[in-house]
């Protein structure tokens, strides 16, 4: 295995583009090293991107935030402002693993690992987050929901590397939330996850984004669920419509963590609960 420590994303992309065999980028390593040690994925070329300037920074950008690819969950939780504007994103990241994992795990690692059950991904999608991607032919920006294409797979091409996460400006009267179901209280993988992001106009929902995890081959952005609450005051009828739309979007698998019926039902329940929290955070508490 070759181990590289490039000083720029262009260099990282060049190394990856020329690499032969299995290539992995290394930031927190909480998935890459587990796969390496379990002999699931043994990289021929490992590119450690933590020596690139700015990768550990959480910085203001266009009223929103630019989060470096090596920023850990612990650093997001400790940040004095981030969780005031995007509490759903921060709480989703904070749910992943133990204190020790929080010391290393990153948003982009969670995204690029490609798990449909990744906790931070529904929260990022609900928030309208995007990522910058550097490749051998230049850079592009893509929405988070366009990155996963299936379990363990992403839309990134050979040689492409994510260089930052962008959270939009929070703006007024907005709030987000993430909830997941696990059979324990801590240290588990989502059976269902749900991120909701709302903006209110008075007491009515003006904008909404609803995302579901662990109920399909990729994390879903559920437009029908958003439409179910837009224009409403999130009253009982709106919540029922939201729940039905969330459940209808589910295409889950049966496995030891949850049946199809259970996951489909819980998706609706979590959508309602997360929407109520997001509504309260957006200032709509009645």
């Amino acid at each position: 295995m070759q181990y590289h420590t490039p000083g720029s994303f262009d260099d990282a992309a060049t190394i990856a583009a020329k690499a032969e065999g299995v290539t992995r980028f290394l930031a927190g390593g909480t998935d890459v090293l587990v796969q390496l040690r379990a002999d699931m994925v043994t990289p021929d070329v490992l590119i450690d991107i933590k020596h690139i300037d700015g990768v550990s920074d959480i910085a203001r950008e266009d009223g929103g935030w630019r989060i470096g690819v090596a920023v850990t969950g612990a650093e997001m939780t400790e940040h004095p402002e981030l969780d005031k504007e995007w509490p759903g994103v921060v709480e989703a990241m904070d749910l992943i693993g133990s204190t020790q994992i929080q010391g290393r795990a990153t948003l982009v690692g969670n995204l690029c690992n490609g798990s449909p059950a990744a906790d931070s991904v529904p929260a990022m999608i609900a928030a309208g987050a995007s990522v910058s991607v550097v490749g051998p032919d230049g850079s592009r920006t893509i929405k988070v929901e366009d990155v996963p294409t299936g379990p363990g797979r992403t839309s990134l091409e050979k040689g492409e590397v994510v260089s930052a996460v962008h959270l939009p400006a929070r703006g007024d009267n907005g709030g987000d939330a993430y909830l997941r179901f696990i059979p324990r209280t801590e240290m588990d993988i989502a059976v269902v996850g749900c991120g909701v992001n709302l903006r209110l106009d008075g007491d009515r929902v003006a904008e909404a984004r609803v995302s579901l995890g662990a109920v399909a081959p990729t994390v879903l952005l559920v437009e029908e669920a958003a439409q179910a609450v837009i224009g409403t005051t999130l009253d009982a009828a709106a919540l029922e419509a939201l729940s039905a739309a969330a459940s209808a979007a589910c295409k889950p698998i049966n496995d030891k963590r949850g049946t199809i019926e259970f996951r489909t039902h819980v998706a609706g329940v979590l959508a309602k609960r997360a929407a109520k929290i997001a509504y309260d955070r957006a200032g709509g508490a009645k």
Binding site: M1, R37, K50, S98, E186
Partner: protein, 159 residues
């Protein structure tokens, strides 16, 4: 196989080593630096027996490569006692018999020290969540939690 030359700091001392790029920090600590306090329980970041600090951040040394230690400051259980004088947490773990086989104990102590540096007055719930990634299969957790809370109270009185 090309070996990587790494210069790092372990428990305040500068050390250098050569390692294979696939070697974890835990492998390096145990097999190259003879610091066998950190244990390999699972090797996949679930059990916390290999807990160390890297630049004061608690991590699993099994989920970090030795090569990544370049320029970092590593803290292990071997750096906890001051010579022959045990750290108050170590004293209290003995007093409470908060261990049986001892395999999880170095990781629990390193994790707990990191907690008390960050939060000198944790609630029981905070201690339990903080230590959720440190698995003990012998004693159960109550003695550990009580030892941590009692140490925290003592340290607050002393400061």
């Amino acid at each position: 196989m090309t070996m990587i030359h790494v210069t790092t700091t372990v428990n305040g001392d500068e050390v250098e080593f050569l390692c294979d790029p696939r070697e974890t920090l835990l492998d390096v600590l145990r097999d190259r630096l003879a610091l066998t306090g950190a244990k390999e329980g699972c090797g996949t970041g679930d059990c916390g027996a290999c807990s160390v600090t890297v630049d004061d951040r608690l991590v699993c040394s099994c989920l970090m490569l030795g090569a990544e230690a370049e320029g970092k400051s590593i803290g292990t259980i071997e750096g906890m006692a001051d010579g022959e004088a045990l750290h108050p947490l170590q004293e209290k773990f003995i007093e409470y018999a908060a261990l049986q086989c001892g395999v999880c104990t170095p990781g629990v102590l390193v994790a707990t020290e990191a907690l008390l540096k960050k939060n000198p007055d944790p609630t029981e719930t905070e201690v339990r969540y903080w230590l959720a990634g440190n698995l003990c299969r012998c004693t159960g957790y109550d003695k550990i939690i009580r030892a941590v809370l009692d140490t925290a109270a003592d340290l607050r009185k002393a400061s």
